[in-house]
């Protein structure tokens, strides 16, 4: 597998693949992460996968950077180019109240895409989004689909968007794990909690999972919010369609 090895200081290297956001490249990163873990290299302290790169953090006392690069190169040399799509085969259903007060950019986004609001909701919710990686905030998954949207970021980022908001940029979507500034377009809100420290598994989904957004009305949104508060809500998870 073709790969570039970059030095990021004395305690981390970055293994980089093709410059693209795609299932194929992301799948290779997922496989590379597993291969590096399996190799159990002494001194490796942490792995940070992203769209098309894997950062390998290490203790400079336990291993020399050059040796780490040599071992990782052995690993990539032994890997195929075609490693599938990286899908885990699980799809999570996320109920979303689109538009209204909590989805204030819905109209603007629909206008940009040349659609009515209903059509935009239909399109956004009919393409499942693939979780590529986490970053920026705990449990914040970067998800992409083939919905064809081209909408840019906002010219002036908002300083405060509610946790649970569903925000979009081009064909990427993000569910905000908590209240945060963002320049992405806010089109809806889910009452489902995607990052909860109090749970044994704090993260609802993982890279490789799929997210299906399901439009719900205000009443259902409020009911689910109550269940989430009471701790009785269970997110629907099912095997992904082929």
């Amino acid at each position: 597998m073709k790969a570039e090895f970059l030095i990021a200081g004395d305690s981390a290297i970055s293994i980089e693949l093709d410059q693209e956001i795609s299932l194929a490249v992301n799948a290779k990163i997922g496989a590379l992460e597993q291969a590096v873990l399996a190799r159990n290299i002494p001194g490796v302290t942490e792995l940070i996968p992203s769209y098309r790169a894997l950062m390998v953090c290490y203790d400079p006392c336990e291993i020399w950077g050059e040796d780490l690069i040599r071992i990782c190169r052995e690993i990539t040399d032994s890997m195929e180019e075609d490693l599938g799509t990286g899908k885990t085969g699980r799809t999570f259903e996320i109920p979303v109240l689109y538009g209204g007060e909590l989805g204030m950019d819905l109209h603007e986004v629909a206008e940009h895409e040349g659609m009515e609001e209903e059509e935009l909701i239909r399109v956004h919710s009919s393409y499942p989004a693939h979780v590529y990686m986490f970053g920026f905030l705990p449990g914040m998954g970067y998800m992409g689909s083939k919905n064809g949207f081209t909408v840019p970021r906002k010219k002036s980022p908002r300083t405060r968007v509610e946790g649970g908001s569903v925000v979009v940029w081009k064909d990427q979507s993000i569910i905000l794990p908590n209240t945060t500034p963002t320049g992405w377009q806010v089109i809806g809100h889910t009452p489902v909690v995607i990052f909860d420290l109090k749970k044994e598994t704090p993260f609802l989904f993982q890279p490789g999972d799929e997210i299906r957004f399901v439009p719900v009305d205000e009443k259902t949104h409020a009911e689910i919010a109550e269940q989430v508060k009471a701790g009785t809500y269970r997110c629907r998870v099912f095997p992904s369609a082929e």
Binding site: G135, F136, P138
Partner: protein, 313 residues
């Protein structure tokens, strides 16, 4: 019990060596920004190197001991006093129940560390006691100390002769600092002129600097094309250069992934210096370093700490 906070100081938080293993989930490592001073403080009071301590920023707290203890202060000089008498840094001292420890306005450096024998008793989250301010968890309820807070010490027999426990002080008197940097990872994104500017200029640490990063002001750094990359992981001490050409040195509370090109990464032994730079005041120059040299320096430092930790106990 521990300490009672009479006055919290400007920004005092519970920190330890950091929260590792979860960056892939978007969780910043946090931890003490000056890991060297933090480690000295724990060594002086006989703690494990990773025990939770207080990180004090610019203006210090007033703390009352609610139990006898052994403590030590390192890092920035904030003219500490115990019951209004100077108590000194880089040396352990004994405190009785009711004693009042006061740290004042910084005279040198930016951050001081106060370690207490046993370490601070706060819940461990994902293997660490560090405070994650941006996400409000870890440390003491995910926030800075407030007046009225009480934090207990974990039980541990304190060292017998605290007065004998003294180590050489690191001085932070100079606010013009040279920081060693290994070029990359995105070397190809910068022109030769860009690198000349980066290693040849003096940068000011602006007031918009905090535990997430140091925003620098100075000569603009030239990119080959543009500043964007597909978001990927970032190492502690990496230096991002967005489109405006002004570098940002990434620190402990960083976002775990970024989409801007990175011109270089500060070497590990110089990372603690970054935590002692004062926003709005300090100036930095960068000097080119090499991977092998940087790792050797880190190994030497680590060997020295482990040796002292073993013989001082």
């Amino acid at each position: 019990m521990g300490i009672y906070v009479e006055r919290p100081g400007m920004l005092t938080t519970v920190q330890d060596a950091g929260r590792f293993g979860y960056q892939k989930y978007g969780i910043s490592p946090c931890g003490a920004l000056d890991q060297r001073s933090f480690r000295w403080a724990n060594l002086l009071v006989g703690n494990d190197a990773r025990a939770a301590a207080l990180e004090v920023t610019v203006m210090g707290p007033v703390l009352r001991f609610t139990t006898p203890a052994v403590a030590a202060i390192t890092g920035a000089d904030m003219a500490p006093t115990l019951n209004d008498k100077p108590v000194g840094s880089y040396r352990a001292f004994r405190a009785k129940e009711g004693d009042v420890l006061k740290l004042n306005l910084r005279k040198t450096g930016c951050r001081a560390y106060i370690a207490f024998s046993g370490g601070l008793d706060v819940p461990e989250i994902m293997g660490s006691h560090s405070t994650y301010l941006r996400c409000s968890f870890g440390g003491l309820d995910g926030r800075a100390l407030k007046a009225g807070d009480e934090i207990a010490f974990l039980p541990k027999t304190p060292p017998e002769d605290p007065e004998k426990r003294v180590v050489p002080a690191e001085s932070f008197a100079s606010q013009n600092v040279t920081i060693r940097v290994i070029p990359g990872p995105e070397k190809a994104s910068f022109t030769e002129k860009g690198y000349e500017t980066f290693f040849g200029s003096e940068y000011t640490v602006t007031g918009q600097s905090d535990r997430q990063g140091l925003r620098l002001d100075g000569d603009v750094i030239e990119h080959v094309k543009d500043d964007n990359i597909i978001s990927n992981g970032i190492a502690y001490g990496s230096i991002q250069v967005p489109g405006d050409g002004k570098p940002i040195v990434i620190l402990a509370d960083r976002q775990t992934t970024v989409g801007y090109t990175k011109i270089g990464t500060v070497i590990s032994v110089d990372l603690p210096l970054l935590g002692q730079l004062v926003p709005g005041m300090s100036k930095i120059r960068f000097r080119k370093a090499e991977l092998y040299e940087a790792q050797k320096l880190y190994r030497e430092q680590e060997m020295a700490f482990r040796f002292l930790e073993r013989i001082m106990g």
